[in-house]
């Protein structure tokens, strides 16, 4: 790793001289400045993740960080949380320069963090996770009783008093885990709470809940740094916005409510992106029935589900987290054993097992990228071709050049950054990892795509690209079954929509016949804890 050719300090100084940072008048927020970052730089081998970041956060505000995938948001908050140490730059915390040697130091100083990737210990209970690292102790013994009491109280505040503090975290659904990591952040006496894409795994009503809590916190003068790729959320909850691009602050302290979307997007991406869904085909182009599911049942997950997907058709499934959507998808894919019912591809009943499904032309991008989809230490190209390397192989010998070329093509379409497909997936940002997961099945040769939250954590620009790719695959005759917590996404992308609630399909209609509110009303009766084994 050679030294940079340019001295970074002079480079950023020059840039600053040419175009001074845009800064909006900060009269919207009254609180005193609790955190100020000046010219923060953090490099990883081969990547300048932060390259001169400026940030100012005031007490009692919700400060939003915007930026494309890989812009450096998560790296920035990891520096604040003491996970990474900056190479240079100044961090001032409540008026004093400070550097956190480790996460404990940051927590002691009053900075609590909810990371983008869940960091819970699966085999500990909810209460033990919430108080991990700062357990209540007396004479070296953990005071379980008071910890459980306090956890219950925090969960109640979070609107989830029904989660038992003694429950193992492993048995919770994804959204439940997110609640627990929020509980952990609240269990500290924090002055600043950082949330890295907390809403990515939450359903619509959960997000409302989250916002209520954020408002409570800010009313007490606690500052919140909020990261999300959903602009609607930033408009609703944010006070000010700082935009990052390629590790630099391109705009600071914009008013969250009134800055035009066009401005935000162009500062993030350096260009203007139309955040729209591709057109539905005007005439009915869908072909023969590709997938036929009849009476599929798994006790406690979903019951008696029947559906069809035709070639060239995009079918969307709307429903809450825990309504059985992901389980349904995995069962169709053969990853879970159906208790009753049949799955037919091209009219033939599928034998159980993923292998049979893949051979029949199915591909599934699962819900949890880290645990279900990625080999974190392996290079990007090998992750992209994980399901298809056998197809490029000759006589059992893999063809790495071909694999690299294919992966590179996907990387280009989905705007993967950095574009170097030999990099280990571990070093990619969250949204870019997600692109790898989805990209795996876009390589061709797939007849039916099962997509579970395909755009989780993906930025606006890449999202539009992804929609285009999915639509054009459909135009080529690929069937798509799409699960998403974002109702507009389901309505905008799908031709036909199924609404699931508590493991049953409660409504099926063409996408044009439904609107967001109707779907939300249909979906709402579910609750978080359903679908999890007792």
């Amino acid at each position: 790793m050679a030294l940079p050719e340019d001295d970074p300090a002079t480079a950023s100084a020059e840039a600053a001289a040419e175009a001074p940072l845009v800064e909006a008048p900060a009269d919207t927020v009254a609180g005193e400045v609790v955190l100020r970052l000046t010219d923060l730089v953090k490099t990883f081998p081969g990547v300048r993740a932060l390259d001169g970041v400026q940030l100012e956060v005031r007490a009692g505000e919700v400060h939003c960080l915007l930026g494309q995938n890989g812009a450096g948001k998560s790296t920035l908050i990891k520096v604040l949380a003491g996970v990474h140490q900056p190479d240079s730059g100044l961090v001032e915390w409540r008026g004093e320069p400070i550097s956190f040697a480790n996460p404990q130091a940051a927590m002691r100083a009053g900075i609590a963090t909810i990371y983008q990737e869940l960091d819970l210990v699966e085999d500990l209970s909810v209460a033990e996770n919430a108080f991990l690292g700062h357990e209540y102790r007396r004479f070296g013994f953990i005071r379980r009783g008071s910890m459980a009491r306090h956890t219950r109280q925090i969960l109640g505040r979070l609107g989830h008093g029904e989660i038992p503090p003694g429950r193992m975290v492993r048995s919770l659904p994804a959204a439940g885990k997110q609640i627990v990591s929020m509980a952990r952040a609240l269990s500290h006496e924090a002055r600043l709470i950082i949330m890295d894409e907390p809403s990515a795994v939450l359903a619509h009503d959960e997000v409302g809940n989250l916002f209520r809590i954020i408002r409570e916190l800010t009313a007490q003068g606690i500052a919140v740094i909020y990261i999300s790729h959903r602009l609607e959320e930033i408009r609703e909850i944010g006070d000010r916005v700082t935009v990052l691009k390629d590790g630099r602050t391109t705009a600071a302290n914009l008013p969250a409510r009134d800055t035009p979307t066009r401005d935000l997007v162009s500062r993030m991406t350096g260009r203007t992106i139309e955040y729209v869904f591709p057109d539905h085909p005007t005439d009915d182009t869908a072909g023969a029935e590709l997938l036929q599911v009849e009476g599929l049942t798994r006790t406690g997950e979903f019951a008696d589900v029947s559906l069809t997907v035709r070639a060239g058709e995009i079918v969307g499934i709307a429903g809450l987290v825990g309504s059985g959507r992901s389980e349904l998808l995995e069962t169709i894919y053969g990853a879970r054993l159906a208790e009753a019912g049949t799955v037919r591809m091209d009219g033939k009943v599928l034998r159980p097992g993923v292998g049979a499904a893949v051979r029949a032309g199915m591909g599934m991008a699962p819900e949890e990228r880290k645990s279900q989809a990625l080999l974190l230490g392996e290079p990007i190209y090998r992750n992209v071709t994980l399901a298809t390397f056998g197809r490029y192989a000759r006589l059992g010998f893999t063809d790495a050049a071909k694999e690299r070329a294919e992966a590179d093509r996907i990387a280009e379409t989905l705007e993967l950054r950095p574009r170097d497909v030999d990099r280990p997936v571990r070093t990619l940002s969250g949204g870019n990892q997600q692109k790898v997961v989805v990209g795996r099945w876009l390589l061709g040769g797939t007849k039916l795509l099962l997509l579970d939250e395909p755009t989780r954590g993906v930025d606006v620009g890449a999202r539009a690209e992804l929609y285009q790719v999915i639509r054009s695959l459909a135009a080529q005759g690929v069937g798509v079954l799409l699960v998403s917590s974002e109702v507009p996404e389901v309505l905008g992308l799908a031709d036909r929509v199924l609404v699931m609630r508590e493991g049953r399909v409660v409504r099926e209609a063409a996408a044009g016949e439904l609107d967001e509110n109707t779907v939300l009303d249909l979906v709402m009766a579910g609750s978080l804890m359903e679908g999890a084994p007792a």
């Binding site: 490099t43 391109t250 500062r267 994980l386 010998f397 893999t398 574009r419």
Partner: protein, 375 residues
């Protein structure tokens, strides 16, 4: 990245810098130009993991250190090129049997398992192929028997683990006990002498001045390297060990593959059994004692992750050679086995520490440098 061309927008904006602002390393710019070539060059030495090459450099360092120690303690011997060449051959020959077992072990560990029964399988295969009945079929029959016994016992391990859902540690521990027991009962606790000159010659003969055992080790290592790095089998092994759930959801038959990994380890044990039988011109139930520990230690020293998903054949080979060199070093200095074992333990820890240390410290140094130039 590449599309960060200046676009006129309504708002004032910073001038568009090249996407990767100041290039951090020269190789990174190569990526923008010629992707394939640049990437190939990059991945070899890049410090952020994935590739075992840099770890292997550390192992070669350890090996060099051992040679220096040898040269210091016995300067007269090391001054004689003839002796040195013969000593190298002696070390390689010493490493050959465990080396073959370690190749199989490396696959199993990369695939997320562990095989404690390798030593026992070697003993069972050795004993079985030297029974009077088998020896009647000649050398061909003996070799066939040893390989078949190895594969079959490996398959039993594999079936128990992947379909019987036993923990690998338990299943192979049970096999360790059972296979040694079976070997003892087959041989009646006697040493069975091999009367096949063909078999006995394998260890005794040299071709072009190099022992045949070393050729066998070389062949197994090359085959193992190709299998791991160039075939779908190897790719599946890494996937199954790195993230079994992801492998399953990508359509890989994880169970069948796991089973095959143990069969492969068994096959290596079968080969090792012939080599060892040839060396001793006999076989007995207690042979290849504690080979499992040597093989596991060599693989781990070689950078194979005990939790699976990562490892290299070259690293494992270096691990085995390092052990053989230590043994050799002690032998030429006339030191006891006890002292040798204590040092071996120390070397295991030291080798792993050195590997973890070297590149981290280099990058840290560079980073520190950068801070000082920046401020």
């Amino acid at each position: 990245m590449s599309d960060a061309t200046p676009t006129p927008t309504a708002t004032p904006e910073r001038p568009q810098l090249p996407a990767q602002s100041p290039p951090v390393d020269p190789a990174e710019t190569a990526v923008a130009g010629d992707k394939a070539a640049g990437a190939g060059r990059l991945s070899w030495w890049r410090g952020d993991g994935g590739d075992g090459a840099k770890r292997n450099l550390g192992l070669i360092g350890v090996l060099a250190a051992l040679i220096v120690v040898g040269a210091i303690t016995k300067p007269d011997l090391y001054g004689d090129p003839n002796w040195v060449w013969n000593n190298v051959l002696a070390i390689l020959q010493l490493a050959s049997v465990v080396g073959v077992v370690t190749v199989g072990m490396t696959f199993v560990i990369i695939g997320g398992g562990i095989d404690l029964s390798v030593g026992a399988i070697v003993a069972l295969a050795g004993v079985w192929c030297t029974t009077v009945a088998t020896q009647n079929y000649g050398a061909g029959g003996m070799i066939f028997t040893a390989l078949l016994v190895g594969i079959c016992v490996g398959l039993v391990n594999g079936v128990l683990i992947s379909y019987g859902r036993l923990v690998p540690f338990i299943a192979t521990l049970a096999m360790l006990v059972a296979a040694r027991g079976l070997a003892a009962s087959i041989s009646n606790k006697q040493t069975q002498v091999s009367s096949s000159t063909f078999i006995n010659d394998i260890a005794a003969r040299k071709v072009l001045g190099i022992p045949i055992l070393v050729y066998i080790l070389g062949a197994v290592v090359v085959a193992g390297w190709v299998l791991l790095n160039r075939t779908t089998f190897g790719r599946r092994t890494i996937a199954v060990g790195g993230n079994p759930e992801a492998a399953r959801l990508a359509g890989i038959n994880v169970r069948r593959h796991t089973m095959l990994l143990y069969a492969l380890s068994g096959l290596c044990c079968g080969i090792a059994a012939i080599m060892l039988t040839s060396q001793a011109t006999s076989a007995q139930a207690a042979m290849a004692n504690l080979y499992e520990l040597d093989a596991i230690a060599a693989a781990i020293i070689g950078g194979t992750l005990l939790s699976g998903g990562r490892g290299t054949i070259v690293g494992s080979l270096l691990g085995v050679i390092i052990f053989a060199t230590i043994t050799n070093l002690f032998a030429i200095n006339g030191l006891s086995i006890e002292a040798q074992n204590m040092v071996k333990g120390g070397i295991i820890v030291a080798a792993v520490l050195i590997q973890q240390f070297q590149f981290k410290s280099v990058t840290r140094l560079l980073a520190r440098n950068r801070v000082t130039t920046a401020t």
